[in-house]
């Protein structure tokens, strides 16, 4: 019956008004199953049906030896941000949903502390990406859209030019970043305000900051973002451990990817690597 039930839980407030109070908790399972279903379908498709990838052949104009053997991809600050954010996100998901599925523990304090860590790390990331990184490299550009169209046409058997190799981030990465941005910011924005309902060290409690209806909508948005993140994080971890993506995952640990992988996947015109740039382990960089 759960799947036929309302996705929201409602209650009558002291003034007799019907207000939403939070999402229905069966959505946890909907999201978890959706995430698992996606990865089963994707893995099956890749294993049995996917054709070999084909990129448009374009010379980089650079001899391969001009590219360092270890291509720097993520700075130490960017990597630290990623892993701090990942830790905070996983803590938030586990503390939010484990109690709902029967594992009882005092979760609220851990939850809001992880939320504060996540918020601080996101603020750092926004500043860092805006002023120290190539801000636009994570946003889809015109070539991404054109290539995505070509890839789709080729997928359905129509004639289209092979897509170009990727810039620093493939389109899927960019779309995922956009989705996690929207979902994450929804959860963070509502979460920060929801901290006014619990005792924290930051500000005095004020449960009357908003009307019951506004609070209810806030809890609903927080819940929807939260359950959405279950599927999104599941999918993210799945891609991180897929064999063909391991070099990308390793680059998030060590900061660099191999020249071979770079040349195989990325277009040096779209993601220019300074041929004199040192990798995070410059001593090992070949000339």
């Amino acid at each position: 019956m759960g799947f036929l039930a309302s996705p929201l839980q409602w209650a009558t407030d002291p003034w007799g008004k019907l207000v939403p109070i939070h999402i229905a908790w069966f959505l946890i399972w909907v999201s978890a199953i959706a995430g698992l279903l996606f990865l089963v379908i994707h893995a099956t498709y890749v294993r049995y049906f996917a054709k070999p990838r084909q990129f448009a052949v374009e010379g980089s104009g650079l001899p391969a030896s001009a590219i360092p053997s270890r291509v720097p991809r993520h700075s130490l600050a960017a990597r630290l941000f990623h892993w701090v954010m990942a830790l905070a996100m996983l803590t938030l998901l586990f503390t939010a949903f484990l109690p709902k599925v029967g594992f009882q523990f005092p979760w609220v304090t851990y939850h809001w502390i992880a939320g504060v860590v996540l918020t601080a790390s996101i603020l750092f990331h926004i500043l860092h990406a805006s002023f120290w990184l190539d801000f636009w490299s994570i946003w889809p550009d015109k070539i991404d859209i054109t290539d995505a169209c070509h890839r789709f046409l080729r997928f359905v058997g129509r004639d289209a030019a092979p897509p170009r190799k990727f810039a620093k981030y493939p389109l899927e990465n960019k779309l995922y970043h956009g989705a996690i941005l929207a979902t994450g910011l929804s959860a963070i924005g509502t979460g920060v305000l929801m901290m006014f309902r619990v005792r924290t060290v930051f500000f005095p409690r004020n449960p009357y900051l908003f009307s019951d209806m506004t609070w209810g909508m806030m809890y609903v948005l927080h819940g929807l973002a939260g359950v959405g993140l279950i599927a999104m994080v599941t999918v993210h971890i799945y891609f991180a451990i897929r064999p063909e993506k391991i070099p990308i995952t390793k680059s998030m640990i060590f900061g660099w990817m191999s020249r071979d992988f770079y040349l195989e996947e990325h277009d040096p015109h779209r993601w220019m690597v300074d041929s004199t740039a040192a990798s995070p382990h410059s001593a090992q960089t070949e000339a």
Binding site: A11, T12, P14, I21, T109, R197, R199, P207
Partner: protein, 338 residues
């Protein structure tokens, strides 16, 4: 406040005659079942039409849940034993007078004749916002109406509040904790025995329950070990009306003295938090010290460490401090310095 309608919504009434049958019935109806012991808590909920169970399992016909039996290590009290029976039982009066005293101050004589010890320790919170059926945290909502600047929170928690500030209203619970009682529970997996203090949970663990019973679980008995039989006991309950009221605060302690010094102490308070609190910091602090007013004074201060008053219940802090002081130093020696 809720309007008491006196006509309960319809439900299916099941009246098992044995623990096995009750357990089977509870497993079959685990989702929407309500366990009825003495009915003092239950009928408020049902008459107010705030709780609407589909099935009610009435335990009153199960003889094996009644009575007080001696065991090889103390006594065992059936969960459906009435508070009057507990209070008047000679062994309880002689060996565990802490419990008989606690039972004797529960509500009124008529209620004690009907109320059971299992029900008394398993009863729900008495916060009126919650009992009125408002969608507070404890009712599954997202607000505590009591923990607001205007909320009526004179009776509410000063310790361990976590979103919800309701308190556990049981008088026998702290006495059972002080006596190192064990609760015997029939669960889906079999019989489980837990320490009295572990039977109760706060809102940090589960904001909708005051105890660990899951749907389908049944508290069958409470065991009192002989370890504390005949110890020096102290119980005191402070309430607005001495003829019939829930505690504003109560304290129960069991003390073993050796040459005038405290060898061992177990002490618990209730109505200070959503679960009865065993004060282990106090127990450790007073070990080896004389049981006098000075020790009590120190213990009282230790007891209230971390207390956070709400708008209208700051009085509970000195109240708890002094109850703990009296529990250790004795009423005669206690000086109401604060």
């Amino acid at each position: 406040m809720a309007v008491i309608r006196d006509v309960m919504p319809a439900f299916e009434l099941l009246q098992p005659s044995s623990v096995d049958e009750a357990h089977r019935v509870l497993q079959q109806h685990a989702g929407g079942v309500w366990v009825l012991a003495g009915g003092l808590d239950t009928f408020d909920w049902l008459k107010d039409r705030i709780k609407r169970p589909q099935t009610v399992v009435d335990l009153s016909g199960i003889e094996e849940l009644r009575g007080i039996r001696s065991t090889s290590d103390g006594v065992e009290i059936g969960a459906m034993t009435t508070l009057t029976e507990v209070m008047q039982h000679p062994v309880i009066q002689q060996q565990y007078s802490l419990l008989s005293e606690a039972a004797s101050v529960v509500a009124s004589p008529q209620i004690r004749n009907q109320a059971t010890i299992g029900g008394n320790v398993s009863q729900d919170a008495r916060c009126w916002y919650y009992r009125a059926g408002w969608p507070c945290y404890r009712a599954g909502g997202n607000i505590c109406y009591a923990d607001t600047p205007e909320g009526r929170n004179r009776e509410h928690a000063i310790l361990h509040a976590d979103r919800c500030v309701a308190v556990n209203p049981s008088d026998t619970a702290p006495a059972l904790i002080a006596l190192e009682a064990k609760f015997v529970i029939r669960t889906r997996q079999g019989e489980r025995v837990v320490n009295a203090e572990d039977y109760f949970i706060g809102p940090d663990i589960d904001i909708t329950r005051l105890h660990i019973l899951e749907a389908g679980d049944l508290l069958t008995s409470i065991q009192l070990p002989s370890r504390w039989a005949g110890a020096k006991f102290y119980f005191e309950k402070v309430r607005d009306r001495n003829v019939w009221d829930f505690p504003l605060l109560n304290v129960a302690s069991a003390l073993l003295l050796a040459e005038g010094k405290i060898e061992r102490l177990r002490i618990a308070v209730n109505a200070a938090a959503a679960r009865p609190l065993r004060l282990t910091a106090v127990e450790n602090a007073v070990r080896g010290m004389p049981a006098n007013a000075a020790t009590g004074e120190m213990a009282g201060k230790v007891a209230v460490k971390g207390a956070v008053p709400l708008q209208f219940n700051a009085y509970k802090i000195p109240l708890m401090r002094n109850l703990v002081k009296r529990a250790i130093g004795g009423v005669e020696e206690a000086k109401w310095a604060s």
